[in-house]
């Protein structure tokens, strides 16, 4: 189980390849990658992600531990960036490995739902018209009730 919180970019292909390498015990590997989407018709200049150093690592480690207690996982990985990100850049990724696909999928979705609403990150979007903090979505909070 691993958590990496970092400002620099990560190599998506290399990370998934490394995660999957030599996993003879896991038949199923799921990954999720979050990308800075250029929402407002090319208006987005950049996103800035603020986080709470210390709490971020603790919160994500706790979410991972919860996932491991609920599903049969052989490995899990969370990478999440902070700082300045441009449209098209990868914000974060989650990967899960399990013997069976149902567990790998469920754990990855669980990790994502909790990262969205329970890990201390805040996004601010900068367009030529100004800057705005991204509001938490009700649907993201509601998604937690699935688990």
């Amino acid at each position: 189980m691993a958590v990496r919180i970092q400002e620099q970019s990560f190599d998506l292909g290399a990370e998934i390849e490394k995660f999957a390498a030599g996993r003879r015990d896991a038949g199923a590997i799921v990954s999720f990658t979050g990308v800075v989407r250029d929402d407002a018709d090319g208006q987005l200049d950049r996103m800035e992600i603020e986080h709470y150093p210390g709490m971020t690592e603790r919160a994500i480690a706790a979410i991972e531990a919860e996932a491991v207690s609920r599903w049969n996982l052989t490995e899990a990985l969370v990478i999440h960036r902070y700082g300045v990100l441009r449209p098209g850049e990868r914000i974060m990724m989650v990967a899960t490995a399990s013997r069976h696909r149902m567990d790998a999928f469920a754990a990855a979705e669980f990790l994502m739902d909790y990262l969205k609403s329970r890990a201390p990150f805040w996004k601010k979007e900068f367009t030529k018209d100004g800057a705005e903090w991204v509001a938490a979505k009700e649907e993201d909070e509601a998604a937690l009730s699935r688990w």
């Binding site: 603020e50 709470y52 914000i91 994502m112 890990a119 201390p120 990150f121 805040w122």
Partner: protein, 82 residues
């Protein structure tokens, strides 16, 4: 003395990321009332605490949580990670 941290628009409204606060507040909400009484910028940041989240010693909790023994309190809007 307790470390009080602010993030995102709470940090922006209050105008600083962290400060040390001398307090005898028994709960988070008591501390919030003390801060609101200080200056307008605090009153503005804490105007609607239902729009805020709080962590005591890096664990999410609620505004009725006791502060006894706490070293670090953080206030911030709902998280938007992922």
């Amino acid at each position: 003395m307790i470390d009080v941290l602010y993030f995102a628009w709470v940090r922006e409204r209050i105008g600083l990321p962290r400060e040390k606060v001398e307090t005898n507040a028994e709960t988070v909400v008591d501390l919030v009332e003390e801060l609101k009484a200080r200056e307008e910028r605090y009153a503005a940041a804490f105007a609607d605490i239902s729009a805020l989240r709080v962590a005591v010693d890096q664990e999410l909790t609620d505004f009725s949580a006791p502060l006894k023994g706490a070293r670090e309190i953080a206030f911030f809007p709902p998280m938007t990670g992922g």
